[in-house]
């Protein structure tokens, strides 16, 4: 089974946040780009499926040259190939169009990705790309079982402790939940070795897309700032013992 894993490079720490001049995007200094955690779980699931069913894993990420780091990380974890799509956009409609076009160039039975990225918290690109490609999809998947008849059976969360068992014909796209497989540790030596592996690159021209087709439209950012507090939180200060006494009183008066 050939699997493509879509992964996103997300910043750990963000500074100098501001709205771009055209109001269409947010600009910031992002430090310490790392693989989006949900997507790392997708990679782990791909590796587990490969162990039991064989096939090739291709990791794909859309972003600038800094996204290479997480592709090397995916290779170190056991991906066979890596592709960077040279496009920067935080607009979900643009990103899903680009990712769908890139997937169209690859040979796959299954696409795995996470449920949402920690920077934009949008959770759209996977399902939207599947919808554009006309392939079946499932969100919040917690178990994947590959079957003989070119299908997968998955268990997905519906919320509140309810699940759906769904059968999907391949090719299909699954957004997997965190915790679907344990995260494995990659020894530093393997991460260093992985940096010598080639990473293919798709430009927008390679995908037959034009930059002006890919402008976000229909909305503009008007403010970015820390959340307004809907109510005032009462912050307790003092020594741990003083805080403990105060907390215990608060707890008792609440009962």
């Amino acid at each position: 089974m050939n699997i493509v894993v879509c992964c996103k490079a997300v910043p750990g720490l963000v500074t100098d946040l501001k709205i771009g001049a055209d109001g269409k995007a947010i600009q910031y200094q992002g430090q310490l780009l790392a693989i989006n955690e949900c997507d790392e779980y997708a990679l782990e699931e791909a590796l587990a499926l490969k162990r039991s069913h064989g096939g090739q894993i291709t990791a794909i990420s859309m972003g600038n040259i800094k996204a290479l780091d997480i592709l090397y990380y995916a290779l170190a974890k056991g991906a066979d190939k890596a592709v960077r799509v040279d496009c920067e956009s935080q607009d979900p409609r643009v990103a899903s169009n680009v990712i769908a076009s890139a997937l169209g160039k690859l040979d796959f039975d299954l696409v795995l990705t996470g449920t949402q990225s920690r920077d934009t918290l949008g959770g759209q690109v996977g399902i939207a790309a599947a919808s554009l490609l006309g392939i079946p999809f499932a969100y919040a998947v917690v178990e994947v079982e590959a079957r003989e008849n070119n299908t997968v059976k998955v268990r997905k969360e519906l919320g509140g402790g309810r699940y759906a068992e769904v059968e999907l014909m391949l090719p299909a796209l699954l957004c997997v939940q965190t915790g679907i497989q344990p995260l494995t540790f990659v020894p530093p030596a393997r991460r260093i070795r992985a940096r010598q592996q080639p990473v293919a690159s798709f430009s927008l021209a390679d995908l037959g897309l034009q930059v002006d087709q890919l402008a976000p439209r229909g909305y503009r950012f008007i403010a970015v700032r820390p959340p307004e507090r809907t109510h005032q939180v009462e912050l307790l200060q003092g020594s741990p013992q003083e805080i403990a006494t105060a907390l215990l009183n608060k707890i008792r008066e609440s009962l």
Partner: protein, 328 residues
């Protein structure tokens, strides 16, 4: 031209989900301000109870697709049916709940309707005549306000917020049945069955005091600090998703969108940053106490009482104080 507000109804076992009721309350206010109709779309099989439950919520029209093929329909089919309804209504705004079901449907519906989707929103309002939404970024530490351009349409997926209490409205919705040939919808997936998490020994729903532990605990060996606090307070130990994902506590103790929703008298969050999925499951608790070393953690947005500090100092001190109070 696109004008109305269309709410997509989520329901199970004949009942309308509370998130949908919240959307209808918001949608009814918006529609009034925009001077347009509030339309609700409900799809499924044997929809009488759902349609009945939608009355009195300020809806102008209820569009119903009732078909046996929708009894166990998957995302592909549901998205197709909702998109067909969208094409007929041509709404300015589609409101969807940002539940796990809504998260699957929203991008598919938006892409079929060629509309933008703004997901994970915490607010939508008309500001000086402009539709404006607020949504979190960067793990919830930042909120962005986004304005829709004039005449632009959007699918807006809203998070579950604090419950909105509204008195039943006298307005009687017109119910329209829509026929869509569900069997001919191209679909390469099918739902085999719906299952429930088996009930364990832990009943978080009944607990009056919950002590919940998050990733901030750092190590399975240290979970006992919070377990001891729960015991000393006569409460129940719970946790956020990452603690279950790494196998430190069983799934039955998970609070949040995919676990249990709880509303105890006291909720003590220890080392929980407050991802949206967690807040959804506990924000209705009567008194929320948060202990976290990061003053910007989103948990402080819902907490009533906060301690910015080291949980390994605060939690044992509180356990000791509670134990001493018991023996006195």
């Amino acid at each position: 031209m696109a004008r109305d507000v269309l709410v997509l109804v989520e329901h199970s076992e004949g009942k309308v989900e509370s998130l949908t009721s919240q959307l209808l309350a918001i949608g009814s206010r918006l529609a009034k301000e925009m001077k347009v109709e509030l339309v609700a779309a409900a799809i499924g099989h044997r929809m009488e109870n759902v349609v009945e439950a939608l009355q009195g919520k300020g809806i102008d029209r209820i569009l119903v697709v009732d078909d046996p093929g929708l009894a166990l329909a998957g995302g592909e089919v549901q998205a197709h049916v909702f998109a067909e309804i969208g094409k007929q209504v041509e709404p300015r705004l589609v409101l969807v709940g940002y539940s796990l079901v809504g998260m699957e449907l929203t991008p598919a519906i938006a892409s079929k309707l060629r509309m933008n989707a703004l997901t994970n929103c915490v607010n939508i309002e008309l500001r000086d005549g402009v539709i404006t939404v607020t949504r979190p970024l960067f793990d919830g530490t930042i909120h962005a306000q986004i304005a829709l351009e004039e005449n632009a349409t959007a699918v807006v997926a809203l998070q579950k917020g604090p419950a909105i209490l509204t008195a039943p409205l006298a307005k009687k919705a017109v119910v329209q049945s829509i026929t869509i040939d569900v069997n001919s919808i191209p679909s390469r997936s099918r739902v085999l069955e719906i299952t429930e998490e088996p009930k364990g020994d832990v009943d978080l729903g009944k607990a009056e005091i919950i002590v919940a532990v998050g990733r901030g605990i750092g190590d399975q060996e240290k979970i006992h600090f919070t377990a001891e606090l729960a015991e000393a307070l006569g409460g129940t130990l719970a946790c956020s998703r990452p603690v279950v994902d790494v196998g430190w506590l069983p799934r039955e103790r998970q609070v949040g969108a995919s676990g249990k929703s709880v509303a105890p008298k006291v909720y003590v969050a220890c080392g929980i940053s407050g991802a949206i999925q967690h807040l959804t499951g506990m924000r209705d608790s009567k008194r929320i106490i948060a202990i976290n070393k990061d003053p910007n953690a989103p948990i402080f947005q819902v907490a009533h009482i906060g301690v910015v500090g080291d949980l390994f100092e605060i939690v044992p001190a509180l356990t000791k104080a509670a134990q001493e109070a018991q023996t006195r």
